[in-house]
């Protein structure tokens, strides 16, 4: 069991006003799944992703990751988990400006406790995996939006994480680039990676194998995708 959540609650306290965002969620995710967390804005899906991705802590409830209770980890331990276990892909790419594609992909290794002897070779590998082996020395302002998101995926892959979290990864992309990104995520899942996709679009969510539907801080539906969409990108995937 990769992720096991029981009675997960999240309250925000702001000037003594308590806002309840998550009202007690329970579910589990197995290794190798492709799960889409879907819901309208304000449903709590981003908060859930932040907690699952160790960027935030639950107020109540239990969160087990790879069989380990992570609710009591220190900030630095959470940072180490983010570094080694999680690969994030954001809607707005979040690449460093004035920095080469290769350096961007290598960035997580800077914070890794493991020694990396072949950092450049490893970065080249993951960039080739997303079809950007020819863009290594380019600066991030010299490539297209779709390419930026693929660099971000390569960056997420470099530490060989247990889970890839993709938060609205196609939100800032045209449909062709969006298709490419979804095709890569599906290919990675086919290769054994666990992918958790956060989106508000039904169309995008249907690329996953399972949809966790959220509304007002609660899971309203947890279902298998019967007619899964397959993103085809002949240019990219080998």
């Amino acid at each position: 069991m990769l992720i096991k959540v029981e009675g997960l609650k999240k309250d925000y306290v702001n000037e003594e006003v308590v806002t309840k965002v998550l009202h007690g969620l329970s579910f589990s995710i197995e290794e190798g799944e492709f799960v889409s967390i879907m819901g309208p804005s304000g449903s709590g899906k981003s908060t859930l992703m932040h907690i699952l991705g160790f960027l935030d802590r639950a107020s109540h409830g239990k969160y087990e990751f790879e069989g380990r209770d992570v609710t009591s980890l220190s900030d630095d331990e959470l940072a180490a988990f983010r570094n080694e276990k999680i690969g994030f892909v954001f809607q707005s790419f979040n690449l460093l400006p004035r920095t080469s594609v290769l350096e961007n992909v290598k960035l997580p290794l800077l914070y890794s406790s493991k020694p990396h002897h072949n950092a450049t070779k490893r970065a080249q590998e993951v960039l080739e995996q997303v079809g950007l082996g020819h863009r290594l020395g380019f600066f991030t302002n010299q490539i297209s939006g779709g390419e930026k998101q693929r660099v971000a995926i390569a960056r997420a892959l470099i530490n060989n994480p247990s889970i890839i979290f993709a938060d609205e990864p196609t939100g800032n992309l045209d449909s062709k680039s969006g298709t490419q990104v979804m095709a890569i995520l599906q290919a990675l899942n086919d290769a054994g990676h666990t992918v958790i996709l956060v989106t508000h679009e039904t169309f995008t969510s249907e690329h996953a194998k399972r949809i966790i539907m959220m509304k007002d801080g609660l899971i309203v539906e947890d279902k298998k995708v019967t007619h899964r969409r397959i993103a085809k990108d002949t240019e990219l995937i080998k």
């Binding site: 991705g53 960027l55 630095d76 180490a80 080694e84 979040n94 960056r155």
Partner: protein, 410 residues
């Protein structure tokens, strides 16, 4: 990480350099202070070494302990005479005096044939070489007998010799000082400026000859007493004071009614050292102020950078950066700014020090160029310290950002 810090600076080069200015000025000031301090110190000491430190000077007129002599104010004081000098030379009055040099000075034109040159007339006794030092290039110095007999002889400083005679031999020639004809009996070796006195641009003649035949005066400009041993300076100052009070009929032993001022060359060294260390202190205060202002500038710019790069900080946190990593990143950047500023400051400071040295040497002072490794180590450590101290608050602020809010920051 260090590479990253420098490339981040390079990205906003103009702002970084402006930010560095305070550090550059402060560090350059530190370098200059240390160079000037040690240069001036070496100059003063070397001056008094060649000059002899066992000297006591007596000036006419009263002056405060550390104040300027009365003559500085343009007042001619006639209280000190040649007879005073003779009395001080007697063993029963001042037992530790090995030489007494009365000095009277004037200025005027020295003429040889059609050549003429404006210079200083330095009237003194045969003890001149003993007290002042210096060597003869050719000929001889005048004797005590020639001083007593108001002999019409003169010894030329090297500048005067060259100006009047060029390469030709001066000894045995007659020159005129104002309207008095004197025979050149010697030429001094070139000596340069020692203790703020140019030894080459003067003619030296018996004090009697200068007083009676040329200036028509009877008083001394000052006199110098050479003491046999440094340990006897205090005692000799007392002996000189008592002898002069007795001769001048001064009964008051408090010193308030004295019509002369007595100072040892050691006092002079101390006075000069006080002046230079006061100057150094002032410059050091300026440097400290400049570094403080520079440091505040660094803090300001680093706070701006933290805000500008909030999203980047959030991203780095998401990728696994711990608080410590973020903190060290911004501390490294702040230190990279101050260290770069420090290195530029060191270069500018050293260049200024070389310039000051060259100007001082051009003016004839024996001012050594001192390249101080200590100064550079101090400058580098100070600039690193400023970066660490003033970078701490912005770096701490950056490290405390909440990753989720930082990632959402627009």
């Amino acid at each position: 990480m260090i590479k990253g810090a420098f490339s981040a600076l390079n990205a906003s080069r103009r702002r970084s350099i402006l930010t560095m200015l305070g550090i550059i000025i402060g560090v350059a000031a530190v370098i200059i202070i240390m160079a000037i301090g040690s240069g001036a110190q070496a100059l003063i000491l070397s001056q008094f070494e060649t000059f002899g430190s066992n000297l006591i000077g007596v000036l006419p007129g009263k002056s405060e302990q550390n104040g300027p002599p009365a003559a500085v104010f343009g007042v001619t004081i006639t209280t000190l005479t040649l007879d005073d000098a003779i009395a001080l030379g007697q063993k029963n009055n001042v037992p530790h005096a090995i030489a007494v040099e009365p000095v009277s000075q004037g200025a005027g034109t020295a003429t040889w044939r059609s050549e003429s040159y404006d210079t200083t007339f330095f009237g003194t006794s045969a003890d001149y070489i003993e007290v002042e030092g210096g060597e003869l290039e050719s000929g001889r110095f005048f004797s005590a007998d020639e001083v007593d007999s108001t002999a019409r002889v003169v010894v030329l400083g090297s500048t005067v010799k060259t100006e009047l005679f060029g390469q030709s031999d001066a000894v045995g020639q007659n020159i005129r000082l104002k309207n008095t004809v004197l025979t050149v009996i010697g030429v001094m070796k070139e000596r340069g400026t020692v203790a703020f006195q140019n030894y080459d641009d003067q003619v030296i003649l018996p004090i009697t000859t200068l007083q009676k035949l040329i200036l028509g005066v009877n008083h001394l400009g000052f006199l110098r007493v050479k003491v046999d041993d440094g340990a006897n300076i205090e005692q000799t100052m007392i002996d000189v004071t008592e002898t002069l009070r007795e001769r001048h009929g001064i009964k008051d032993s408090s010193g308030l009614s004295d019509d002369f001022t007595i100072q040892s060359s050691r006092d002079a060294i101390e006075t000069l050292t006080t002046v230079t260390s006061g100057l150094s202190f002032f410059l050091a205060a300026m440097a400290a102020l400049s570094l403080l202002v520079g440091g505040i500038g660094i803090m300001n710019i680093m706070l701006i950078r933290v805000v500008e790069r909030t999203r980047e900080i959030g991203l780095r946190q998401a990728l696994g950066a711990r608080r410590f990593d973020i903190m060290s990143q911004f501390l490294t950047e702040a230190t990279a700014i101050t260290l770069s500023g420090g290195i530029i400051g060191i270069v500018i400071g050293e260049l200024m020090s070389v310039l000051i040295t060259l100007v001082a040497q051009q003016m004839g002072y024996d001012w050594p160029f001192s390249f101080s490794l200590v100064a550079i180590i101090v400058a580098v450590s100070v600039s690193v310290a400023v970066g660490l101290i003033f970078g701490l608050y912005p770096a701490a602020k950056a490290s405390k950002l909440d990753p989720i809010e930082a990632l959402r920051y627009e």
